[in-house]
């Protein structure tokens, strides 16, 4: 047992951070807020760098890496607030050939799906099977999303639509579990980034003649943010190593909470200056809210964990 990142893992994470800092820095982020459309050039670069295929075996075009490595890359994507159907496209690697893939989860109501118009194919998840569909099959109608970086669609799809779709030869539970874990990794990145942002602001911003970070009220907000982020981090990393369903529920539950509450507290630390559209804080909070509803929400995770107690 050695829970530390290996040198290769550290290098992978550093590489992902560097790539994203270069290709998706603050200016690109703000441009994406206005542009709406997926940046296909960037997407191709991410694909080229192995973001989606990394867990496939080398003969299949992948890098033969595991969930722990994927989690480190997705943590960086979360930290950079990278938009697009990252998790769905990653999950589809090896199943579908399309470059941009979205997910429709038919077990949830209202039936809403992210990124449909940008996707070339869709993974359709119900409780039992994974199917594939063309985005048009769902008759998608754009629904304004609270996160300006996540296009959302109201989709129609009764049992009739579903049963005509091609069933893919893969296990839906594994796919859902991995989707939840990678989403938790994105949330971990958000939790860490908003912590850093709050700390930086608290050091710089002066009120009452002192940096606000010297006040206990602000200090203690930041300390609790670190607690949430670190607990989420070890939970996400541990679940990536074990691949276990209960560990994944732990990871998603704690990472969702860390992302939402850290983004919330980051806004509180920023005060009025964080309340404008031009400040980035709100983008992190809104994305964290979106991710918290994906794959498994708090209620589902808590029930999974409860069911595992003294089974």
């Amino acid at each position: 047992m050695d829970f530390r990142l290996t040198e290769e893992q550290q290098a992978l994470r550093a590489g992902a951070r560097e790539l994203l800092a270069g290709r998706f820095g603050r200016e690109r982020l703000r441009a994406a807020v206005e542009a709406k459309d997926l940046d296909r050039g960037l997407w191709a670069e991410l694909a080229g760098a192995g973001m989606f295929s990394m867990r496939l075996a080398e003969p299949e075009g992948g890098a033969g890496l595991g969930l722990p490595e994927a989690v480190l890359v997705f943590e960086e994507a979360g930290r950079a607030l990278l938009p697009g159907p990252l998790v769905a496209t990653h999950l589809a690697a090896g199943l579908l050939d399309e470059a941009v893939v979205a997910v429709v989860d038919t077990t949830r109501r209202p039936l809403l799906a992210e990124h449909l118009a940008d996707a070339q194919a869709v993974l359709v998840l119900d409780g039992k099977r994974v199917r594939r569909a063309d985005p048009a099959a769902f008759d998608p109608v754009p629904e304004p999303c609270l996160d300006p970086l996540t296009p959302l669609y109201r989709v129609r799809g009764g049992p009739h639509t579903m049963e005509s779709l091609a069933v893919l030869d893969t296990d839906v539970r594994t796919l859902r579990r991995q989707g939840a874990l990678l989403t938790a990794a994105l949330q971990l990145g958000i939790a860490l980034r908003t912590l850093e942002s709050a700390v930086a602001h608290a050091r710089e911003r002066e009120q009452f003649g002192r940096p606000i970070g010297s006040f206990q009220a602000v200090k203690h907000l930041c300390a609790d943010m670190l607690g949430r982020a670190e607990v989420a981090r070890v939970a996400v990393y541990a679940a990536s190593v074990t691949g276990d369903a209960v560990d994944t529920a732990t990871a998603k539950l704690l990472a969702d909470e860390a992302a939402v509450r850290n983004a919330r507290d980051c806004l509180q630390v920023h005060g009025g200056t964080g309340f404008t559209w031009e400040a980035d804080v709100h983008l992190f909070l809104k994305r964290a809210w979106v991710h918290a509803t994906q794959y498994a929400d708090a209620a589902a995770n808590e029930e999974t964990l409860a069911a595992a107690l003294r089974r």
Binding site: L112, P144, G209
Partner: protein, 382 residues
């Protein structure tokens, strides 16, 4: 302890209800949220109707043009207008709830005659120039400077988070008149005409995507000394008289609205199945208790308003209310599930704008300091 209504109070309520049922259908359609001149016209027309019916400045003293009603009538008025779906105070917020009461309390007879009747009649709109980029929670550190030249102050600086600045006639402005004096001292209250040369208004977009606020830039704006309320360098005290008062009842209508929203959230939960989950039910039940108690707290504060120390209970109210409001819209989001991601749902906009409640007009952290130091007598931090 009496929460019942006297026959006179019930008569007041009945008359108000009749009047509301009569006039509300006559209102023009509400303007688009982005149409500032339209909003001003709408809000002022409503204020004029209130005025003509004798409901303007319901709890203001008669000698400044108000109705001079007691706390019971005041609360009935807030409750009934909200329940009837009457327009909000809107563009007249600052005039009726802050600048007006400040002028009533601290103005000369001449100043009261000049500024108060147009507020009550819905003829003049006020905005507030307090916050600054560098002076958020630490309002006393404001830098906008006024230099006296004869009977005029020359004002230069900028103000932030000013609502209705685009359509306001007047701005109640805090400026620094003594740059040497520390903190609260050296600040002066001025009434600045918004059409004075040198005033520039730039809209500010919030995280909710709307432009409720503006930044106001002041470049050598000339304000007559006659527009000063109270003495030079005494503006902090002048302002605080009303700042603490404001926090008592300014949110009463919102509490009524929150209770209505809570009922709607429960109805939504019943219709989409979320109600079957005791976690959701109990969360909504707890919110019902909180808003019910907040309403009682307003009644308590209003009943004690005449006892001196106005609005000290206001900090406690604001702390709890701002948190409860955020909780309410978080609970609404839980009930909506994935539907809470839609920006088209009106609860989404409310959820986002409610985020400002623990920040604006004194963060919850500042409120806790105030409560601890002024109400509980704990020693000031260093």
């Amino acid at each position: 302890m009496d929460l019942s209504r006297t026959p006179a109070e019930e008569a007041f309520r009945a008359e108000l209800r009749r009047w509301l049922a009569h006039v509300l259908p006559q209102l023009p359609p509400a303007p688009d949220p982005g149409d500032w001149p339209g909003r001003r016209a709408y809000d002022c027309a409503w204020q004029r109707m209130l005025h003509d019916a004798g409901y303007a400045g319901i709890h203001w003293p008669k000698e400044v043009g108000g109705r001079g009603a007691g706390p019971a009538e005041h609360l009935i008025h807030l409750e009934e207008t909200e329940k009837a779906g009457a327009p909000y105070v809107g563009a007249n917020f600052v005039g009726l709830l802050h600048a007006g009461p400040t002028i009533a309390a601290e103005g000369t007879a001449e100043q009261r005659r000049r500024w108060l009747p147009p507020i009550l009649r819905g003829e003049q709109v006020w905005c507030q120039g307090f916050s600054e980029p560098q002076a958020g929670s630490d309002l006393a550190s404001l830098r906008t400077r006024a230099v006296r030249e004869g009977d005029t102050y020359v004002v230069t600086g900028s103000k932030l988070w000013t609502s209705h600045a685009e359509v306001a006639d007047w701005c109640e402005l805090l400026v620094r008149t003594d740059p040497e004096a520390p903190g609260h001292r050296g600040i002066t209250w001025l009434a600045m005409p918004m059409d004075a040369p040198g005033v520039t208004v730039r809209p500010l977009r919030t995280l909710a995507g709307s432009t409720e606020f503006a930044q106001v830039f002041l470049d050598e704006v000339r304000v007559p000394v006659a527009n000063r309320l109270g003495a030079e360098n005494d503006g902090w005290r002048v302002t605080m008289v009303t700042l603490s008062f404001e926090r008592g009842t300014a949110f009463a209508g919102e509490v009524v609205a929150c209770r209505r929203t809570l009922g709607e959230v429960a109805a939504q939960a019943r219709s989409n199945g979320a109600w079957d989950d005791p976690v959701v039910r109990r969360r909504l039940g707890r919110l019902a208790a909180e808003f019910s108690a907040l309403w009682s707290l307003i009644a308590w504060n209003v009943s004690h308003a005449g006892d001196g120390s106005p609005g000290l209970g206001g900090s406690v109210f604001k702390l709890r209310y701002s948190h409860a409001r955020q909780e309410l819209f978080d609970a609404a989001a839980e009930v909506l599930g994935r539907g809470s991601l839609s920006a088209a749902h009106r609860w989404t906009h409310e959820r986002l704008s409610s985020l400002s409640y623990t920040i604006a007009a004194g963060t919850s952290q500042i409120q806790r300091n105030i409560v601890a130091e002024r109400l509980l007598g704990l020693p000031k931090g260093p």
